[in-house]
């Protein structure tokens, strides 16, 4: 698949959180939230990042915008290593939309101030120009300019998410990290917000990293999708490839587990995984998915599979994929 010019590149990214054990907090262990990942986001592209709770998808998003420092590895944005870039400058280029529209807006600030804050911080335009821009932004996200005089508490969840979006696009950034932007909203409102994000992308050419556990929404908005499991990426593919030919058994079971809104599909064959997600503090040896994988082999328990190109040109980290690759030339 042709990738647009890369905007953001992640290499060997890791984030370990210390966990103190024992009465005197002497023993120290590490929670490996993100444990070595590589990823690229192209210009104007939406990359979906899916996975279950605790897989490290939010931590990844927070490291990209600079809210967390990586333990190891680099994030480079437009060719510059983020650890060497002024974080304040970064705000012009990267913004974030959060899951909870209730706690992500300051309740004591008027909506127009919430949206104007990034403009003021970066000293963009005069006071009057800023006000004009705020009115424009409010209209653009489907609110009215008089809404700017109200406080966040006067708005519903969906409207607040629109305010959060207006704030995020105020400085016309080139990348917006959306961390579960619709999970807290009702179904009918989710669709409104997803459509708004799509429209804005067409208009502004902004890239999105769309982090979510709701697979339907991710499919709707993304161009490519990365699937995470316990701090690692197990598969990256275009959404068409991912949904028609998932390569990794985890992706396959994840897609199969999503309840379909069609009772006629009830009898279909489903893969129901056994057991719980292992803890990221002490991930299983070899392939992290081997404890729940329906296709587990001996090699999976010892050797960790690397993310590699599959026959379809996508990426997957699974021994079955490498095996299939090995077989081909032998047969020929």
């Amino acid at each position: 698949m042709m990738l647009n010019e890369p905007l953001l590149e992640i290499n060997g990214l890791k984030k370990y959180y210390p966990k103190k054990d024992g009465f005197f907090q002497g023993k120290k262990s590490w929670i490996k939230a993100v444990d070595g990942m590589d990823l690229t986001i192209g210009k104007g592209e939406t990359l979906g990042l899916v996975g279950e709770s605790g897989c490290g998808k939010s931590t990844t998003g927070r490291m990209i915008v600079g809210l967390e420092d990586p333990t190891e590895g680099t994030v480079s944005f437009q060719g510059n290593n983020l650890s060497q870039v002024d974080k304040r400058e970064l705000g012009k280029q990267m913004q974030m939309i959060f899951q909870d529209p209730f706690s992500s807006l300051n309740p004591r600030m008027k909506v127009s101030d919430v949206i104007a804050e990034p403009l003021r911080l970066h000293k963009v335009g005069s006071r009057i120009e800023q006000q004009k821009r705020v009115d424009e932004l409010l209209e653009r996200v489907g609110l009215r300019s008089e809404h700017g005089r109200r406080f966040p508490a006067e708005f519903s969840g969906g409207q607040r998410q629109r305010i959060g979006i207006a704030r995020a696009i105020a400085l016309s950034p080139s990348l917006i990290v959306c961390d579960e932007p619709v999970s807290a909203l009702d179904v009918s409102i989710q669709a409104q917000v997803l459509n708004l994000l799509k429209d804005l992308q067409k208009e502004l050419g902004v890239s999105y990293l769309f982090i979510a556990h709701g697979i339907q929404a991710v499919k709707y908005i993304s161009d490519r999708i990365a699937v995470m499991y316990l701090g690692k990426i197990v598969e990256v593919a275009t959404k068409e490839e991912l949904f028609s030919r998932p390569q990794h058994p985890y992706t396959e079971s994840l897609l199969s587990a999503v309840p379909r809104p069609d009772p006629k599909l009830r009898g279909r064959d489903r893969i129901i995984l056994k057991g719980d997600l292992p803890s990221p503090e002490n991930p299983p040896s070899g392939c992290r998915f081997h404890t729940r994988c329906p296709k587990v082999m001996d090699v999976c328990k010892q050797v960790e599979p690397a993310l590699q190109v599959t026959r379809e040109g996508t990426y997957a980290a699974c021994h079955l994929v490498s095996e299939a690759e090995m077989k081909q030339p032998q047969e020929a």
């Binding site: 709707y220 309840p259 379909r260 009772p263 995984l273």
Partner: protein, 339 residues
């Protein structure tokens, strides 16, 4: 299809927050539906539509500040549950009707071992002795897919994962072999692979024990997987009620239709734009005179603005709409959000 015996019947349920005479808001306005024996009924709607108030009123668990209209009725075994004394309700809860909640962390006592909590209801209702109660509990949690049940009964809730806790809740709820299980968003807090496990267990147990389930959810996928019949609520009212296959095949109410089309499809191409329902739910303080869905509806006429539609039979199904979505016609306008 043979007609099944009715287990629970809700007639004209009206509930208000606040006292009569004062400014009070209507939470539930004339809800009617029934649950048959051995049936799974899904109660669907968005936040604030009154589905949880309806469910909690069955068990008398609503806040004391919530008042019911005098002619409201919830019939269960010849009795009106709304008028039952606290003592009688206590006998009913966990025994004839039990409930599981969205977040199993908050519904388990963090200071008591799982085994102790599980056997409480058995000891209370069934006058069993501690040993047999514990054996029953062991069998039940094994049945919901928890390995090493003996050890798990000696654990505290914090030692279990979210999925495990919800299994414990289900086991606990079914231990006294109730006739009705009310499940309020039982899988909403869980990851999708765990959700699949829990739904599977609920379905198996439902068939094994022939318990009826009132499943409260906003997730249409869960409804399609689980329910026999669906009741759709909007702004405190039932707007549509139908057999699950009929409902997903052809929703009659524009709201139901809008809900179904606003979910992005997993199958097939996905570049097609999803049609959102415009606007937001009206607040219970300022409900319109006519149809509550009027502001957001794409099928509306002047009649809808003036006259409130009532739940009426429409080809064997119930719908509260003056202009039900007609078979085959797809005249719902694609609503752009920029308006």
């Amino acid at each position: 299809m043979t007609k099944r015996e009715t287990l629970l019947e809700i007639n004209n349920l009206r509930a208000y927050a606040g006292k009569a005479g004062e400014s009070r808001s209507q939470l539930v306005n004339g809800v009617n539906f029934r649950i048959d024996k051995g049936e799974i009924v899904a109660l669907v709607g968005e936040s604030g539509c009154g589905k949880s108030v309806t469910a909690l009123s069955i068990l008398g668990l609503n806040a004391a500040s919530i008042e019911y209209e005098n002619d409201s009725e919830i019939r269960f075994h010849e009795e009106n549950l709304l008028q039952l004394s606290d003592r009688k309700l206590r006998k009913l809860r966990g025994n004839d009707i039990s409930m599981i909640f969205q977040d199993p962390m908050f519904s388990l006592n963090p200071l008591k071992k799982i085994g102790k909590q599980m056997t409480e209801a058995l000891l209370q209702h069934k006058a069993a002795d501690v040993r047999t109660a514990r054996q029953d509990a062991e069998k039940m949690i094994e049945r919901v897919g928890i390995t090493d049940p003996k050890r798990q009964l000696d654990n505290y809730p914090y030692q279990l994962s979210g999925g495990m806790r919800q299994r414990v809740m289900i086991a606990m709820a079914l231990l006294c072999k109730p006739e009705l299980l009310i499940a309020d968003e039982p899988t909403t807090a869980l990851d999708v692979t765990i959700q699949a496990q829990i739904l599977e267990i609920m379905k198996d147990l439902q068939q094994e024990l022939d318990v009826s389930i009132l499943l409260i959810t906003h997730d249409l996928g869960v409804v399609a997987e689980m329910a026999d019949r669906v009741v759709v609520m909007y702004s405190g009212q039932v707007v549509e009620e139908a057999d699950v296959y009929a409902l997903f095949e052809q929703p009659l109410h524009p709201y139901t239709n809008g809900l179904l089309t606003s979910v992005p499809k997993l199958e097939g191409a996905s570049d097609e734009r999803i049609s959102a329902i415009r606007g937001t739910v009206p607040s219970p303080q300022e409900l319109p005179k006519g149809c509550n869905f009027y502001e957001r509806c794409t099928h509306r006429s002047d009649r809808c603005k003036e006259e409130e539609p009532v739940l009426a039979n429409h080809g064997g199904r119930n719908v509260a709409c003056w202009h039900p979505v007609v078979e085959g016609a797809n005249d719902v306008e694609r609503t752009a959000i920029r308006n």
